[in-house]
Amino acid sequence: MTVDDTGATVFAPTLERTSDRLRAPWALPGGKKLAVSVLLHAPAYVDVVPAGAHKPLAMQGGVGRETGEPRHGQVARLSQWDFGLTVGLWRLLDIAAEAGVPVAVALDAEGVRTKPGLAALVAERAGEVVARGRAANIVLDPAMTADEEAAYVASSVSAVAEATGRPVTGWFSPERATTPRTTAVLRDAGLTWFGDWPVDERPLALVDEAAGLTAVPFSLETEDVFALYARGLPFGDYERVLLDTVDQLVADADLLGARYLGLSWFGWVLGQACFADVAERVLARLAAHPDVLLVLPGDVPALVGGGGAGDAGAGAGL
């Protein structure tokens, strides 16, 4: 990690700098042009965060467009996030099953501890189980010590793995909040992929102290919280974003090599009745698309090929 003379860390650690101009094309089995993974987030929101834990500075959900922490006693954000666990997640899982699309579900330690039946039902229905930290609003923070961060990751992974009885190889940080150490911590915890970085259109084998970990990029622009809440797109426009993204990535594969799209969806957002038809139509389109490979994110590192075609030439010339 390089710190310059202004004190800035100029580039993200463990990520080689490259671009499509400098690397060999990525290829997918069967000549597919676009690999798509669907990750359903099932986070639990804690209204009263324990002392010493780190909270996000702002997050979505609640009465209006306010993103600061609600005054204590207003339960709009708490209950809106909880909707994802009571109803929204299951609606999206039903939609995915109907379309024949395999999905990963990301759980956190709080959810599997406090929501009876959640872990067991996710274990039964999800193609893959992913760890998602301690709680929706208890996040990693650069003020944590290395030991605190390692304990946060390890305890989250073990809580989710034990509650579901499923192996956990992937990670998604709540609010995508991390520290400069996080990729190394995830690698050292035995994880093989994480989804936080919307940095590319293909998965990336990380380097240096995170070598062995694959960044599986879950796009921000196509994430439901970002599109429908942060940006405030009407749901019809969001559907257009999703479908146009798929079409353009497929077309670009002929120029650039195979593309990857990680769809990051929340039960409390796209699982709402008013939005769920968007998921239904988009997943049906993806499932029927001859150029699309639907893949669980846990299977993506193998497609990168550990130093093979996926990252050939990475960093050259920079």
Partner: protein, 312 residues
């Protein structure tokens, strides 16, 4: 009584929708729809002064007059649409209006609207009330409603969506049966209370709601219609598929939905609600009563079994 306060994190009784005992509505209806007009009073200068909209110091006449217009003019325009489609309504009411605006009170009475508490006045949130003060607030709320409306309050949506750690406990101790601040489900759900008294959440909406949608997030009126159509359409299809009857709330405010440019959208919403005979268009209290009588015990027992707890 439990020794540890339930607070906000301890209220909800979790159970995933799949596997719950089935909820059904009268006559085989699939989705209960309740219209919640928020008829609110905003003090000209609220207690303690301040800035009602974070814009200028009180009196903020832009804010005050916009909202008072809602009660003076726009309420009556809205009522024409409500009457045209005979929409049962559950008014989320600043209760001082029962005393201070007898015309509105009588119009609601004539239409058999249910009065749901939305506090005394909408610039008087209850966040900072201690137990005695909150209890007195609820007693005053019931008294205002009994005296001026001849009915008891069954439920509340906190004024300015405010509450305390004890709100649910005190509501049930003041005779209420539902709390509309919780939006975690598409069915009423049991809420834990310190006395064990039966209180349920009533699915309100910040999505099908003119203030967040139009006022805070700047969508056009036609999007309100699109959202209602999408929400109810999906709920009906899902209820047909899994047999779980559901709830949709359409929340309005006269100062927005009673504006001249809103009447077309509001009429379209009511028309689509009235055009589907699979919907039970009713009042929140009726939904709560039905749920408490027919489904509360089974759903609570199911959730407790999931949690590995015995019967209470």
């Amino acid at each position: 009584m439990t020794s540890t306060p339930l607070g906000t994190d301890g209220r909800l009784v979790y159970a995933p929708m799949p596997g719950r005992p089935q909820v059904t509505w009268p006559d085989g209806k699939l989705v209960a729809v309740w219209h919640a007009p928020n008829v609110e009073h905003y003090d000209y200068v609220p207690p303690g002064g301040g800035s009602p909209a974070g814009r200028v110091a009180a009196p903020d006449v832009q804010h005050y007059m916009h909202r008072d217009y809602g009660n003076r003019v726009a309420f009556w325009r809205m009522l024409r649409a409500v009457d045209a489609y005979a929409i049962p309504s559950t008014v989320s009411l600043s209760l001082t209006l029962l005393r201070d605006d007898p015309e509105i009170r009588d119009a609601m009475r004539e239409r058999d609207w249910e009065v749901m508490s939305h506090g005394i006045s909408n610039l008087r949130p209850i966040y900072d009330l201690d137990e005695a003060a909150e209890s007195a607030f609820l007693a005053q709320s019931q008294e205002l409603t009994r005296t001026h409306y001849g009915a008891s309050l069954q439920g509340m949506l906190g004024p300015k969506i405010s509450g305390t750690d004890l709100t649910a406990d005190l509501m049930v101790e003041h005779g209420m049966t539902y709390h509309a601040d919780w939006i975690h489900d598409e069915q009423p759900r049991p809420l834990r209370t310190r006395s064990g008294g039966r209180l349920v959440s009533m699915p309100y909406s910040y999505m099908l709601n003119d203030v967040p949608l139009l006022h805070a997030k700047h969508y056009p009126p036609s999007y309100f219609v699109d959202m209602v159509r999408a929400q109810i359409g999906r709920l009906v299809r899902d209820a047909e598929r899994d047999g779980q009857a559901r709830v949709a709330c359409i929340a309005t405010h006269p100062f927005l939905s009673g504006q001249p440019h809103m009447l077309r959208a509001l009429s379209e919403i009511f028309e689509l609600v009235r055009g589907d005979d699979r919907l039970w268009v009713t009042r929140a209290g009726d939904i709560a009563d039905h749920y408490l009588e027919h489904h509360y015990d089974a759903q609570l027992a199911h959730a407790r079994a999931l949690a590995g707890e015995g019967p209470r």
